[in-house]
Amino acid sequence: MARKTIKVDNLARVEGEGALTVVIRDNRVQSAELRIFEPPRFFEAFLRGRAYSEAPDITARICGICPVAYQMSSVHAMEDAFGIAVGGQLRALRRLLYCGEWIESHGLHVYMLHAPDFLGYEGALEMAKDHADVVKRGLALKKAGNGLMTVIGGREVHPINVRVGGFYKAPLKRDLVEAAEALKRARDIAVDTVRWVAGFDFPDCTRDYELVSLQHPDEYPFNEGHIVSNRGLDITAHEYDQHFGEQHVPHSNALQSRKRDDGGAYLVGPLARYGLNFERLSPLAKEAARSAGLRPVCMNPYQSIVVRAVELVYACDEAIRIIEAYERPEQPLVPVVPRAGIGYGATEAPRGMIYHCYHLDHDGTILNAKIIPPTSQNQATIEEDLTAFVNAWLDLPETALRHRCEQTVRNYDPCISCATHFLDLRLDRG
């Protein structure tokens, strides 16, 4: 029997640490296993016995790329438990913080991590030798996101200004207006980015995904809304555990999420958000998508780079809109009175929906914490993609085949451990 195993021992250009094994038997992919080493489990234990007020700063440390989504999900869950609603300009500032994180994260992934796949480079460094202008464009985008994070969050990464109930300090209008100038330039770059990546050569690969994301009646989702799917799911974060379950798989120390009803995989992230919320994009973002030839639903994961670019346009546009309407609130937070209970929060990290649940004592001490990051939700889908798509490429030379496998994983911008780094890829051909 012809056997082949593709192993990627060190998958570059993913955020985190992991390994991938693809087993090939009789010239068919028999299995694909993505092993990821995941820090949220450690942080869940670390949070037990801590005060609710420590959760935003502790959870922000889970990931250097998407600290906002981690900390804000914890904040929303605490506020849910305490029965607090944060509205007006404080809510707008929170959306602005997400804009900053999306611009930073998508800018990094599109330009530095994903584009080299399509242009035939080993990585951003090799790409920069031929296309320094392109890399500078990506860095400029990322810098605009950093600038926003610094003004609202207090520093570029791991914002320290966020607390349950609001912020420690509300930014001054003039500081935000200054950041908006950079955002206007970033928005132009983002529009160009959509045009640029739309011209890449995409494998003709689509699958019938179950797309899952937040959905809000009036806005493209960041930090509020129902959890919906293209197959009729419509629940609140309170009901997440009834519909999605995590299971240990022998090859990974991360829990792999699946639907409870049929055990099926589902997809979170840009493709899901876009497909379920196209109508809520800003007119400019919609126009950019249409010009790029994207339909309102995109089921080709390789085109996620185009969708990310469209989301970059949206995040810049939305940030500028929020800043123009901003009036500094008199108080940077609403009063917080802890009480015993369970709080739930789901928000949209750049790479997909993230879910937090906390059991709290009467004084706000954390009794139990559960954190489900987007990558563990996408893990089963990534494995299915590999199984479905890699068959068509088995005749490619080994290096090209390995590259396709890596690219297939990178479609998801996986935050494989949000803390250390490599994916170990093995192709087992027997």
Binding site: N10, A12, R13, V14, E15, G16, E17, P39, F42, F46, R61, G64, I65, L108, M112, L113, G123, A124, L125, A128, K129, A132, V135, K136, L139, K142, K143, N146, E156, V157, H158, A419, T420, H421, F422
Partner: protein
């Protein structure tokens, strides 16, 4: 006034990966006024930003090169690329060596750029620095202070 930055790199929650950050913490209040002290997680473009704003830079990170744990290396990155293999274990998707080379390619590498590394033993989540690296902290801090002093306006 020349802009001098000292950049401590690492993840405080990953054992010896915290080395650069611990050295940076040790340096607080001990560097001359002309030196900026920055801590970053190691995400490469953040490092690029820090480098792009400096004339002179000192970067501190943990490394895995096969040396004994705690062994200190000093590289002149302005003169030549870092031995990349040593940094394949840098704890970030796009490593420090690549970030320095990208800065060189884009013309934003500071004219003076020193990199200090200490050989890591473990990147275990939640673990403290290994004893060998604890011992290396003060030595690297002292050498960074000496380097930065060399670049002070008084010496210029």
């Amino acid at each position: 006034m020349p802009r001098v930055v000292v950049i401590g790199i690492g993840n405080r929650d990953r054992g010896d990966d915290a080395f650069g950050r611990v050295v940076a913490a040790r340096l607080r209040g001990r560097l001359s006024g002309h030196v900026s002290l920055i801590e970053v997680d190691g995400e490469a473009t953040a490092l690029l930003d820090c480098l792009g704003e400096a004339d002179s830079a000192i970067v501190i990170d943990a490394a895995v090169s096969g040396s004994d744990p705690g062994e200190i290396h000093r590289f002149d990155a302005a003169r030549e690329p870092l031995p990349a293999a040593q940094y394949s274990l840098s704890t970030h998707g796009f490593g420090i060596a690549e970030a320095l080379e990208l800065a060189r390619t884009l013309g934003t590498l500071p004219g003076r750029c020193i990199v200090y590394t200490a050989e890591a033993r473990s990147f275990e989540l939640g673990a403290p620095l290994s004893p060998e690296l604890v011992l290396a902290v003060e030595e690297v801090a002292a050498r960074v202070i000496a380097d930065a002093d060399q670049w002070s306006p008084a010496h210029a």
